[in-house]
Amino acid sequence: MNDNLESILSEAKTNVSAAPSKEELERLRVHYVGKKGVITSLLHQLKDLPAEKRKEMGAKLNDVKTNVEKVLKLRQSELGRKDLEEQLSKAPALDLSLPGQYSAASGSLHPVTRVMEEFIQIMKRIGFSVATGPEVELDYYNFEALNTPEHHPARDMQDTFYIEPPVLLRSHTSPVQIRAMKNKKPPLQIIAPGKVYRSDYDMTHVPMFHQIEGLMVDEHISFAELKGVLHYLVKDLFGARPLRFRPSYFPFTEPSAEVDMQCISCRGSGKECRVCKSTGWLEIGGCGMVHPNVFRHVGYDPDQVSGFAFGMGMERIAMLKYGIDDIRSFFENDLRMLEQFSC
């Protein structure tokens, strides 16, 4: 009987999986497991066996039955799938080219916001925290404490809007540095993002723009650390690119430098390049070592600590990053510009 069972099972498997139609499959089902099917009949014969054999055989038979039912079910679903495929192949096709619809409009973030966020993320990774301050400032924070007393020639470098002296619209975010240093003992590592105002409006200047300034103060900060941080920042923002530090002057830093990045358009060749005006370099910001007088103003001891500061215009960075060529377009809020910043 054992051999018999084995052959019944393998025969059933072969037949079932080859059944060409649902009708044939039904016939096979009746043949094997129907009321008078082969396996059912064998089950009926179990009662004729001796008790000890009955149990063993019973288990085996049930096993065979289960297996046969399993292959029947499998084949059934296979055949059903085949029918469905046939039906679907006859179904009408969609016009795949029609625009899709999902019930949410796509928003966008202003290019300046994007660049600022990216900038901040990069600086946070190396330990800088965000500090903010008022846009309406006192002369003291905007100039005086930054080593730019009244009648200092450097005041001409930034044309300032006044509300009623000494109240003004900050001309840089440097006053935040003063406020931060007055509030906290060194070491200090901050970036100050925000709007700044200068009384200047032409092809290349707008009266309000966004700046991020960085400040790091500790016991052994030198110009080498300033260069290291700016290389890291620019590499992350624009990819690895040569930088040059051009000696310059700001009253609140000394030594001071302008930071130039190799032109992203002509890659420094300067050949007929509109982006860098054929100089091969793009000015991206100013920087320097914090002037000892600034430290004295905030109660830091310049013999104990040193530090660097740098500042960059976000519109400038966004222009270079996204290829925007008119700074005034940042504040027109033309939808055709804004919607390009939706991802």
Partner: protein
Amino acid sequence: MLVSLNWLKEHFAKTDIKLDPRELADKLTMRGVHVAGIKRSTGSLTNVVVGKILQIEKHPNADRLRVTQVVFSEEEGAEKHQIVCGASNIAEGDIVPIALPGCVLPGDFAIKISTIRGVESRGMICSGKELGVSEDGEGILQLPKHAVLGQPLSKLLGGNGSAEDTIFEFELTPNRHDCMSVIGIAREAAPLLKTTLKEPKPAKFKAGAHRTSSIIKVEVDDAALCPRYIARVMDGLKVQESPDWIKERLEAVGIKPINNIVDVTNYIMLEFGQPLHAFDLRRIESGSIRVGAAKEQRDFTLLNGDTVQIEPGDIIIWDGERPIALAGIMGGLNSQIEDNTTSIVLESAGFDPIQIRRTAKRLGIVSESSKRFEKASDLAAVAAASEKAAVILRDSMGANVYHPPIDTNEYGVKEHVLAVDMREVRKITGLPNLSAEHAADLLDSIGISSHKKSPNVLSVRLPSFRQDLKSTIDLVEEVARLNGYEHIPQNLPLSVATYDRLDESSFEFENRAKHVLFNLGLKEAINYSFISEDLCKAYGFLNDNLVRLKNPLSEEMKVLRTSLLPGLLQNYLYNINRKAADLKLFEVGKTFFFDPNEETKVKEVPTVAGLISGHHLNPHWSGKSKEVDFYHAKGLVEILVRQLTTVYLNFEPINIPVLHPKRSALIKLGLKEVGFVGEVHPHIKDSVLETSEPLVVFEINLEVLRKYARSGVRYKAPSKFPGVELDLAFVVDQTVSAQSLVDSIKHAGGQLLSEVSIFDVYQGEHIPANKKSLAFRLNFLSSDRTLQETEVNASKDGIVKALTEKFQAQLRS
């Protein structure tokens, strides 16, 4: 500032310097003396003259060429030259530069008589690029209509006519007063060209029969205002045109020659950076010059004819009680050089830069003199410049110079010495191996001498020409820049951030608001913080709390905004005029209000605002999208606030000019007003925006909202037991607010009632007039058991009872 290369070269010790102007410019720039432009002077353009196009005809054999007839004289019947030209921007009557045969243009381009497609051409009409005078190669260089025909072009363009020259344009930083002169630039350039500054030849004067002091006296009231004053008297002068070499030098750098005496003072100023002033000796009536601060207000007429008001404190050159010059800024009309002047007093002096700047700024005068004096005075240059001027006036203009001059500081200039600790230099520059010897060499290359006081300390003599060098840090910078910033290594420092981090919450909260609205499909706008008063008025934001700029750029940018909406509404207008529709804009920024309690008298409020117009969604082929209305804007506000905070808002009626009186709401957080939301007032839509599109706006104070900011997620395990859902509809008076019903349902529903929402509002058939039906979906849930029907029914009964009692509500079945 413009500087001529030829002039520079006169000041180098080495005479046969070969240099590439571009390379020199780059090197100077990298040493902090920024060259912003290089211009070739037109000196070499011989045989390029000014011509006039008399006639233009088509070229018989070439479509793109034209045959012109040009003349070099205005006279009737002047000889015509035929020139073939390919440019399109020419017209008959144009005044243009013509390269004549025999001329060699930049790039070794020789011009000769030629035949172009069968037509003879005797020269070339040139573009600026072909002449090397500008970058513009697009069309012919158009010359001014008044230009003298036949004149060499170089003369017209102010070039130096005889020799080729290069003009550098410098953009100097305000600290480098020493570079506002040919000698100053030469001092910086010399080491870059491996040479040194040429030592000036000492001038020799014969002591005259008359002493200077027998003719004029000089008094200085306060040496702090005028630390040095040298007066030289000269006679035997004749006012006339300057010799060519002086005129060419001046013209090359854009200074107009006036007469020999004035030209010499300008020449010396350009060379030494020391402004001079010449008085007509006849006009100094008291025989004495006094330098002193004005004590009272008075009018004074400058030599340019303007009358200005002198204020107490202004430094004045006095002739007795009469002002004759505004010291360091401009001379007076009453003592200027005239055509018949023969004797002069030549002033060379140093003045207090702060007072000069204060006066010049107040009067709005920017003269070549004040630009220099307001930075610093080099008291050694005061003497050198005076001497060289006297030499030129004597040798080239025949002046008889009285000697010695009067010098209020004849014992010379006090030199300051500064001890510079090399450890400080190394610490700041990040150059650990920088030796004292090397630093000394670098300083020496630009004329700053020093000696080693100890292994780590340099004793540096601060030269008088570098008044900007005052403290150690200034020398650190000098050493660093002369050594080259490129030699400083780069090192990414370890973070020094500490646990007591700064408060970033305000910035982060505003950023979160931006992101919520961005994710809800709004586009971020950024507008200027200042707007016009007219705009304030048009949108109804004119009030007593406005903050105005004292020096606005224009009326358009005068008032600090008290709302972000004028900006957004203007953005709406801008965009619909460009055919945009269905706008969704937001802005996060500060609004500004007058507030006497603030240190600056201005309160800044971080604010968010939004604007939505037209349809909820962009038009789509699959069907029509709903138009936006009050509820749409309210929904947006609710999502925004829910995402940012843990608070519930109340919406109450509001009446402000920008909003529809019935379809808008004041947003309140408890008792505090935090903003408003609603449809834009029909009047503003009609008369200001001229639109009939649905338009909704909102504005919220983020500062108040931030106090309730969500600080994170607090997890609550979901109930393991099924909830029960129950729908109830009530008919109530139209005036009953939905919120009051929800509040009562929640109150009466007990603890098991977990959620109430409104799923239908209905008025019309089957409902009496002045009544409305509201349908609520109630969810009951327990965290510890499966609810029994009796429990839910008890709650339902309580709700029905409460609503019936409180609102005379009728349960609909």
